[in-house]
Symmetry: C2
Subunit: 476 residues, 2 copies
C-alpha cells in the first residue's frame, strides 16, 4: 500500500514548519555527556513529550534512576515511551530514537553556533543534533502530525522509545527495554523495530542497514621495575616492559589487516557469491573510502574486499600505550609499567565470550616465549556482541519498497563497522526483526563539527519513514 498522496503533499507543504520545529529542538543543548547540561536534556524530554501528546500519542516519562558521572551523582534524564493504536488486525511497529546530542562548542571549529540551526543556501541544515538524532525523531513527529490533523488512523499500531542518554552509553535503557518487552509491558505485541539513527554509506544512495559489529576491548599490561628507569643506567641490564609489550602487540594483526590470533578470523564463514554481490552493488568506491579517511591508504584496490573489511569481517586495531613516554621531544626513560590498548570489532558468530579466551591464551603463550622476568596481565575493558538481521524479512522488504517509492532507487544494503548496542537489546528482548533505516547522508558529520542534515533528507526522509509504515501494514 503506497502512502496516501495527501501525506506526501502535507510533508512538502509543511517543510518550512518542520524545519522551524527542528530549529527549536536543536536550540536546546541536550548534551548528555556534560553534567552542566543535564537540565537541558530533561527540558528536551519535556519538549518532545509535549509535542507527542499534542499529536495524540499516549506517553509516559520513565524515571531511569541515578548515575554517577565525573564523580557527581546525577538523575538520569527520563526516557519517553509512546503508544498510539491498539488494533489487533494491524501490525505493531516500535520506533526508537534519541533526543540527546554530542558536545559541541563553536571553538571546536564550527563555522556557526552549533545550537542555532543554520540553513545554508545549498540546503544543509547545520546544527548539533540535526542529523544525530533529532532530525529522524522529528521525522516520526511529522508523520504523526499529518495523521492527527487530517484525523486519519495510522496504518499500524505504533510504539515509541526515545531516550536521552544514547551518546553516553544508553545508561538505564537496557533494563527498561527488557522490562517493557515482557507480557503486559509497553512493547508487548511488537512485530518489528525500526531505528533511524545511522547514515547512508555515501551522499547519493538511500540505505538499509542489517548488521553491526560487536567489540572486545583489551588492555595488555607489562610491568617490571619498581619505577621508571634511566636508559643509560639500566639499558641492557633488565627486561624492559616496552620491549615485551611491543613484541606482543606486533603479533596481533598484520599490515594487511589479518588478525593473527589463531581461531578468530577462522570463525567467520567466507562470503557466498550472492553475498559478495551485495558488496559489488554498493554505491561506494575506493575513492570514497580514501576521501573519507583523508589519505590514499585503502587496504586493497578491490572495492568488495575493502567494504567486506569494514562490514563483514572482524578487525583488530592498536589504539595506543598507557604509561610509556607520549610527549614531544626526546626522553630517555625505560617506562616501568606499560599497557597496550587494542580492540577487536566482532562479526557473527564471534562474541566477546568466544573471542576473549582465545586472545588471552594466545598472548599468554607468546609472552611465555619471551623468557621475560616481567609481569604480564591482560584484561577485557568492555565488550558487546555483533548483530545481524535477515535482509529478506518483510520488515526489510517494506523498507525497500518505501525507498523505491520515495527515492526511485534501490537502497544500498549495508552493515556498519561500529556498534549501536541498543539494536541488539531490542532484537534479543523482543525476538523480532530490527531494521536500521537511516535518514541522513554519510557526510553528515554526526559526532564532528558542522554536523548537518540536508533539507532533502529531512523532507524525503519523513516521507520514507511514513511510507515505510504503510508498506509494513500490507506486506506479507
Amino acid at each position: 500500500m503506497a502512502a496516501p498522496i495527501e501525506f506526501l503533499q502535507f510533508v512538502d507543504d509543511n517543510a518550512d514548519a518542520f524545519i522551524q520545529r527542528l530549529s527549536d529542538a536543536v536550540a536546546i543543548p541536550s548534551i548528555s555527556g556534560d553534567a552542566s547540561h543535564r537540565g537541558d536534556v530533561v527540558k528536551m524530554a519535556e519538549w518532545l513529550n509535549d509535542h507527542l501528546k499534542a499529536v495524540g500519542v499516549e506517553t509516559q516519562l520513565v524515571d531511569l534512576g541515578k548515575h554517577v558521572m565525573d564523580g557527581e551523582e546525577l538523575n538520569l534524564p527520563p526516557a519517553i515511551l509512546g503508544r498510539i493504536g491498539n488494533d489487533p488486525k494491524k501490525k505493531t511497529v516500535l520506533v526508537y530514537g534519541h533526543f540527546d546530542v554530542q558536545p559541541a562548542n563553536k571553538s571546536d571549529g564550527w563555522d556557526t553556533d552549533p545550537f542555532t540551526l543554520t540553513i545554508h543556501e545549498d540546503g544543509r541544515l547545520i546544527g548539533r543534533g540535526s542529523s544525530d538524532d533529532k532530525g529522524p525523531v522529528l521525522g516520526w513527529l511529522n508523520i504523526l502530525q499529518y495523521h492527527f490533523q487530517s484525523n486519519k488512523e495510522l496504518p499500524v499500531n505504533l510504539r515509541c522509545c526515545f531516550e536521552g542518554m544514547e551518546e553516553s552509553g544508553s545508561e538505564g535503557l537496557d533494563d527498561l527495554v527488557k522490562k517493557e518487552s515482557q507480557p503486559g509491558g509497553w512493547f508487548d505485541g511488537v512485530d518489528c523495530v525500526c531505528i533511524s539513527d545511522n547514515y547512508w554509506l555515501n551522499t547519493r544512495t538511500p540505505a538499509l542497514t542489517y548488521g553491526l559489529r560487536g567489540l572486545a576491548y583489551f588492555k595488555l599490561t607489562v610491568s617490571g621495575p619498581g619505577r621508571d628507569l634511566h636508559s643509560g643506567v639500566f639499558g641492557r641490564t633488565v627486561h624492559e616492559p616496552m620491549t615485551d609489550l611491543v613484541t606482543l602487540m606486533s603479533k596481533l594483526v598484520d599490515g594487511q589487516g589479518n588478525i593473527l590470533v589463531p581461531g578468530i578470523d577462522e570463525m567467520v564463514e567466507p562470503p557466498t557469491e550472492s553475498e559478495k554481490a551485495i558488496y559489488e552493488r554498493l554505491d561506494y568506491s575506493i575513492a570514497d573510502v580514501e576521501q573519507s579517511a583523508g589519505g590514499q591508504i585503502a587496504i586493497s584496490s578491490n572495492k568488495v574486499d575493502v567494504l567486506m573489511g569494514r562490514m563483514r569481517y572482524a578487525s583488530l586495531s592498536l589504539h595506543g600505550i598507557e604509561g610509556a613516554f607520549s610527549g614531544v621531544g626526546a626522553k630517555t626513560v625505560i617506562p616501568a609499567k606499560v599497557a597496550g590498548k587494542f580492540s577487536i570489532r566482532l562479526v557473527p558468530p564471534q562474541t566477546p565470550e568466544l573471542v576473549e579466551p582465545l586472545v588471552k591464551a594466545y598472548l599468554e603463550a607468546e609472552f611465555a616465549k619471551l623468557n621475560s622476568k616481567n609481569k604480564f596481565s591482560i584484561e577485557s575493558l568492555h565488550g558487546g556482541k555483533p548483530w545481524l538481521a535477515d535482509v529478506n524479512h518483510w520488515n526489510f522488504e517494506a523498507a525497500k519498497a518505501a525507498t523505491r517509492a520515495v527515492y526511485h532507487q534501490e537502497p544500498d544494503l549495508t552493515r556498519e563497522g561500529g556498534s549501536i548496542p541498543v539494536t541488539l537489546t531490542f532484537a534479543e528482548s523482543l525476538g523480532v526483526n530490527v531494521l536500521l533505516l537511516p535518514m541522513g547522508r554519510g557526510d553528515d558529520g554526526a559526532h564532528s563539527t558542522n554536523e548537518k542534515l540536508d533539507r532533502s533528507n529531512f523532507i524525503e526522509g519523513t516521507k520514507l519513514l511514513g511510507t515505510y509504515l504503510y508498506e509494513v501494514a500490507v506486506i506479507q
Copy 2:
C-alpha cells in the same frame, strides 16, 4: 708521594666547618633549568668565585652569552675559570665541576626542605646538590683552603672549570673548552683532567670511571589518514599507522637486549679475559642491580653479563609513542600519525655517524616489506659519541694509589651506562687522559628526591681528591 699528614688532619679538624659551607651552598637554589631561578645560579657563581679568590685562586667569570629557554631569552650563567700555580716542573691538572642543580620541591616527595641541608644522625647530608655536584666542588675548595691557610704550595699546577649549566645541557661550555684549550688559552699546558661528578657503583666501594656510553636518539614516524579515524568505521579498510609502527618497533631489539639492527652489536669486539676479570672483580651483585631497579628483572643471572650490558655493550630502549592514545580507559581510535621514540646507548667504536645510517637503512627495508600505503620517516633527534679512557694511564694510577691510601681498598673500575658529554669535549679538545673520580655513593639519588651525600664521603672524598693531586705530582 702521600699527602701530608697535616692535610688529612686539617680535613678532619675542619669537617664541621666544611659541612657548614656545603650548607651555605645548598641554600642557594641554583636551578639552571628554571628561568625564575636564573638569578640564583648567578648568585651561586659569585659565591663560589668569592670563595676561590679567598683561598688564592686567580679566577675569571666568563660570560657565555644568551640562550632561549621556554620561549624566553636569558643570559647564561657565567662559567668560572680558575688558576693557581704555574711551575713548569709540576704537572698541570684541570678539575671540572658544576654549581647548578636539578629542580626540587618539597611536594615532589622530599622529607625535608631540599634547599636546607639536613644532617641526619646516620651521617647523611640531605639536600639538593649535596652530591650533584656542590659536594665535590667544595671538596676542591677544602683542599685549597688547607694549602692557603698553611701557606703550602700545591703539589701540582691547578686549573679549574666550574659551570652553571650542566643540568641543562652545558650550553655554551663546549665552545669555551675548545677555545681555552688552544695555545695561550686558560687550559694550555694541562696534563690531565679530573672530573668528580658521578657515583660509586654501590654504597661500599670507591670507584674510578673510565667509560661513558654515547647516544643516538631516533623518532620513527608513520602516518596515513588525514585525521584520527574511528575503528568501527575504518578498522580493516585502511592501513593503520599503529600496526606498521608497532611492527617496526618490534624488530629493533629482542627481550634479551640483543639489538636486531644488523651491524650494530657486531661493531663491538667481544671482551678479553682480562677485561671480563674487571667486571668479575666489581663489588656489585645481581641483587644490587635488582634492588636498584625495584624488581627482580635482571636480564641474566650472570653478574658479568649484566654489568657488561650496562657498561661495555650498546643498548636499545623503546621509550614510547607520540600521537597514539595514551590516556586511561578505552578509546576506539585509529591514530592518524604516530611516532615511536627509541634510542641506542653507544660504546666504542660506535658513533652516531656510524649507527644512524644502519638504523635508517634497516627500518626503510623493513617498512618496504610491509607493503603499506602509509608514509614512513625516520629522524635523529640527538646524538653523542661514547668515551673510553686508558685505565693504565698514570692519571688513573694516581687515583688508584690515592684510593688505597684513603680508603684502604682497591677501587672498582667502572664504566657508566649514561653520558656526561663534557668528558668527551675535554678528552678531544685537550688530547689528554680524563679521569672520572666520584665522591658520592650509588644511592645518593642525584636527580631524585632526598638527594644526599654521606658525611664520610664528603670528608674522606676531600682527602681522596687532595691525595690524588699528591699522587699525580710524583707518578711517572
